[in-house]
Amino acid sequence: MADINTPALGESVTEATVARWTKKVGEAVKKDEILVELETDKVSLEVASPADGVLSAIGAAEGATVVPGTVLGVVTEGATASAAPAAAAPKAAEAPKPAPARAAAPAPAPVAAAPAAAPVSPAPARIAAETGLDLSKVAGTGKDGRVTKGDALAALEARASAPAPAAAPAAPRALHEREERVKMTRLRQTIARRLKEAQNTAAMLTTFNEVDMSAVMALRAQYKDIFEKRHGVKLGFMSFFTKAVVAALKAIPDVNAEIDGTDIVYKNHYDIGVAVGTDKGLVVPVVRDADTLNLAEIEKAIGVLGKKARDGQLSIEDMQGGTFTITNGGIYGSLMSTPILNAPQSGILGMHAIKERAMVVNGKIEIRPMMYLALSYDHRVVDGAGAVTFLVKVKEALEDPQRLLLDL
């Protein structure tokens, strides 16, 4: 017998939700074959089978909350698929019935995953009876995950201190016709919570500018083939924007700082988060030490991170520690937007769609490929002058890329 354990989930991540089992109880599995997917606040994780054999029990059903070390299920080594249900524990034997997995999943309980299955101690039972607290939703800290009185009291306190959000789930409104209710994924819940936290914390406002993309586009048109041949990666706009942002951050260090209590922490490293839309939601992997990379290296880094993001393969480490973020609404056609900060960062640059517009150049009207730029910033750290200067620096670097070469 080999336990399938919940792996370490990464810094500051304490729990995960079981998203999907790829195997049913009784099915044969191979060592290192993906058995179960977990969702955390930040990423999805895949857990592989620890051994060859048969999945003999599932301890944490889909939707269950688990912590590192929780036994997700059990693989009986060496067993074969047909023989396993008979040979394994009686709990496993009842599992291979056709497709009851979802409804009846918590039935085999060889593990501590579900506190609800554990007997309830007298004090938490009294609290539940008096207050209607659902103990099965309380994370237990006692032996084998039991809910202690302290856990129940803490859950009550949390319920009381968050009256508004608590009220809504307490009485879910009736579904009307042609409506569908779907549980928010953990990633979506985290996105929601973090965006709101950023809005509630920072003194956030947005400044705008526009950039004439002629120079960058010309440069790109001229060198894109030779660049790709030489570096094996396409020359895109993101590397120019990243370079321009790093140069501007160096000029205006406030934008690369964060507030920590009553202190300001200035960061002398330039780790640029690049927002990537995936089918599950927005994630922001980080290009490390962007100031030390050349354009090709930046393009490569973004390419690798973007693919990982779309494949759901990003690790927690990939997304931690960014100092500034770039988000590109332009790829969806956005003309102008006010991005929300990626806390605790103090600035985020919004890129938008490039549109040919009539511009007055040297007294004449010319058609130029134009992009609106938006910088949302935390006014607690960054002054208006700094923010505007920052955005002007970005604009100037893009309109005249030679400035980047000359470090101007």
């Binding site: 006692g142 202690t148 302290g150």
Partner: protein, 466 residues
Amino acid sequence: MAQYDVVIIGGGPGGYNAAIRAGQLGLKVAIVEGRGKLGGTCLNVGCMPSKALLHASELYAAATGPEFAKLGIEVKPKLNLPQMMAQKAESVEALTKGVEFLMKKNKVDYVKGWGRIAGAGKVVVKAEDGSETTLETKNIVIATGSEPTPLPGVTVDNKRIIDSTGALSLPEVPKHLVVVGAGVIGLELGSVWKRLGAEVTVVEYLDRILPGTDTEVANAFQKILVKQGFKFQLGAKVSGATASAKGVKLSFEPVAGGDAQTIEADYVLVAIGRRPYTQGLGLETVGVTRDKRGMIANNHFKTGVDGVWVIGDVTSGPMLAHKAEDEGVACIEMIAGKAGHVNYGIIPGVVYTSPEVATVGQTEDELKAAGVAYKVGKFPFLANSRAKINHETDGFVKILADAKTDRILGAHMVGPNVGDMIAEYCVAMEFGGASEDVARTCHPHPTRSEALRQAAMGVEGWTMQA
């Protein structure tokens, strides 16, 4: 030469329980013991024989004192000390045989002789006849226990100046027994001879008895002992002893300064503590080191040297048989690749006097020092019906719980049978229980265990029977 998975050096509670667990888990295991009997200090010259004498002397005191007369039983008891010692020896003998049987049952090789480590994976056993055998093993568990700490200037001769071993087999009841050290062993053995008729004086360096125990409990217990006729000289530093054929002159002076005093006793019991025992163990052959006090440090029972483990009195933590036992089990489980664990926060301590003292978890002094907000629930045995019927009303139960979560942080009690009853709190605490959990658990009436429940109720102010 046999190849073992585990060789355990020392046949005490740590060692023999480790051996049983190893056998259960299918490891090839040997236990090495030179005493000639298994069971270690605990079974041979510690917990068990002292309990035999505590029980016998308690009944003797009840018979000779006012208790029997009060109950309407009129007897003229006569002490037969040799018989009392003989029944003690008989019980101990039966228990050591029982441990030997458990070794056989669990397929443990019992190797008689003194074991010493002779390099990595080698234990040499020297038998009584001087012959030596070498055992080869993947793992060595050091479980050699402890011995009484000597007191400079007061040399134990086990004639007039005795240690705990000597105090378990005195040939006569002393007229005046002086006990140096007001710890568990001194107070238990002092109690034995007190009940058999000795005058007992306890001399202690600190200004309190039972250091480390909850102060309120220790103070209450001291008052009970004084009521029983114990005399205490606290804050007194023993400076020397002169033994003659007839007795001992023991001199001591106040720690705070002042004139020295001398008292005469026919026996002096030195019970100032115990120290790790590692003599001739060959630690240097594998590079295991000891600290200043002779203790072998451990990290989850690992000595830091591959394949050498350590449990019980010889390593850190309280010198208690049940702590050694738990460590033995956990250590073997780790050797077998399992998740062995000892919860050091919930190791109970008991003083087997009458009444008993029992404690588990943090003391009130510790909680105050740590700045933890806590609530107290207390209940006196005077208000417990069963205790009252039995004329055992001395003592009380005190429960300490977290002020916010109500989690039980400590249970401290002095009273009849509390050494057995405290196990209830050990279980509750192991499961993260709140005082309310105990308060809402039905307890049988009429029993002394009700006092434990009433005290739990007291934490949230709803004690019902006082």
